[in-house]
């Protein structure tokens, strides 16, 4: 009995030390956090940010690193542009996806495609932070040092096939997203770090042509 107790105590101490950095929020904290993010994201009319993307595949010796710039303008204009190590951009605009692959241009009409509409919403939601939709996701909330973390598990079976979980890390002060992590069904993930964020600067529509 005593041994059991020691093991229990040991495991408890051990698990606390492991998870010390990631502490669950209580209900009041969740409400306050969501409130902060909603206030900030409602104010976002335009947003531009540099990003670095790390593709982690467990069998590789190094993450695959690409980087570029993302620009968003209300209500649903989005440009995602990779600049290094290759030029590749994708623009979501008026129900179309415009792709420019090293100068080779193409367009996909997504007019009624539900899955693409959802992806578009997801990307914009991820970057602006406004993604607290309990109908779409099972959401859990955590506190980190100087940051907050929200984990979204998709409820939709189709989406779940591609993304096991989305993790958004927020700067505590600014209540804006600083990192997006997309976990695939296996243990592989894509981690996108956002930096040099500019909110509500004037952005011309011509940015969203390819």
């Amino acid at each position: 009995m005593k041994t059991k107790l020691y093991i229990f105590l040991f495991l408890n101490v051990f698990s606390i030390s492991i998870f010390a950095q990631e502490q669950k929020m209580n209900d009041a904290e969740i409400a306050a956090f969501k409130q902060d993010v909603n206030v900030v994201s409602k104010k976002i009319k335009t947003l531009s940010t540099d990003f670095v993307q790390y593709k982690h595949l467990d069998f590789l010796s190094k993450d695959i690193e690409t980087s570029g710039k993302m620009v968003f303008k209300e209500p649903a204009l989005l440009s995602w542009q990779y600049k290094k190590p290759y030029n590749y951009s994708i623009v979501f605009k008026n129900g179309k996806i415009l792709i420019n692959d090293e100068g080779k241009k193409s367009a996909v009409d997504i007019g009624n495609s539900k899955i693409f509409a959802r992806i578009n919403k997801l990307i914009i939601g991820s970057v602006s932070g406004n993604m607290f939709d309990d109908k779409e996701f099972t959401i859990s909330y955590f506190k980190l040092k100087g940051q907050n973390l929200a984990k979204f598990v998709p409820k939709d079976a189709t989406l779940k096939k591609y993304i096991k979980q989305i993790e958004l890390t927020f700067d505590k002060e600014e209540a804006t997203v600083v990192q997006v992590k997309l976990l695939e069904s296996s243990e592989d993930y894509t981690r996108i770090v956002l930096k040099n964020k500019v909110i509500n600067a004037k952005i011309d529509d011509s940015v969203f042509t390819n």
Binding site: V52, Q53, K55, L57, F59, L60, S61, K62, D63, I64, E65, T66, S67, W80, Y82, K84, P85, Y86, Y88, I90, I99, D101, K104, S106, K161, Y162, L182, E184, S185, S186, D188, T190
Partner: protein, 211 residues
């Protein structure tokens, strides 16, 4: 008698035409004495290297792009993953000489004919050891023939610098797949083009260095 002679000549002419038009894939090469019986191709053989290429695929006029990733995971097997630029995994294979395993594939690509085609392509691309049975040459290349099941792989070494520049997979009479390498150095290809002759499929791989 005369009639049968004419018939015989006609049949012979016909056969000659058929044979010329179907001719062997080696008809334009000059046979040469075999100078080696095995060849090692190093381009995807380093177990410490992550082979990461930006990829463009053209299939029957449709274009798609993404990132091709290959890694040697043990003596016999390569892991091959194809993702979008965003990082979503589209397919994840493990390919060895005789076996292959699909770890995952998105439903849009989950077609037997596509999986078989890609497996055949990747298997030749990643193959390190070729046993050689015959040798030929033309003006620019020393050409080594390596039998592989019902097909033959022809390895083209440039006479100028002795480097493997292409591998052609053929039936007895027709080329089926041509893989062309542009080299960064002796052991590494910075560009690879996989071109199918019997279907309209071209896969272009351009190596990119992660930041």
């Amino acid at each position: 008698m005369q009639k049968s002679t004419i018939q015989f000549l006609l049949i012979n002419c016909f056969l000659a035409i058929v044979l010329v038009s179907c001719g062997s894939v080696t008809k334009n090469y000059t046979p040469k004495k075999l100078d080696k019986t095995a060849i090692e191709v190093p381009y995807f053989a380093d177990a410490n290297a992550d082979y990461v290429y930006k990829t463009n695929i053209t299939v029957y006029g449709h274009e798609m792009s993404g990132v091709f990733i290959a890694k040697k995971i043990n003596d016999t097997t390569h892991r091959v993953v194809f993702t979008t630029e965003f990082g979503n995994k589209l397919l994840d294979f493990e390919i060895a000489e005789k076996t292959f395993k699909v770890n995952s594939i998105v439903s849009e690509l989950d077609r037997k004919i596509l999986i078989n085609t890609l497996t055949e392509d990747f298997r030749i691309l990643l193959k390190k050891d070729f046993l050689i049975q015959e040798q030929f040459e033309n003006v620019d290349f020393n050409i080594y023939k390596s039998a592989d099941d019902s097909r033959d792989n022809y390895l083209f070494f440039s006479k100028k610098d002795q480097k493997l520049e292409k591998v052609v997979r053929s039936s007895k009479t027709k080329d089926k797949i041509t893989i062309t390498f542009t080299l960064e150095n002796d052991n590494f290809a910075k560009k690879v083009v996989i071109l199918h002759q019997n279907i309209k499929l071209k896969i272009e791989l351009n190596y990119f260095k992660s930041e």
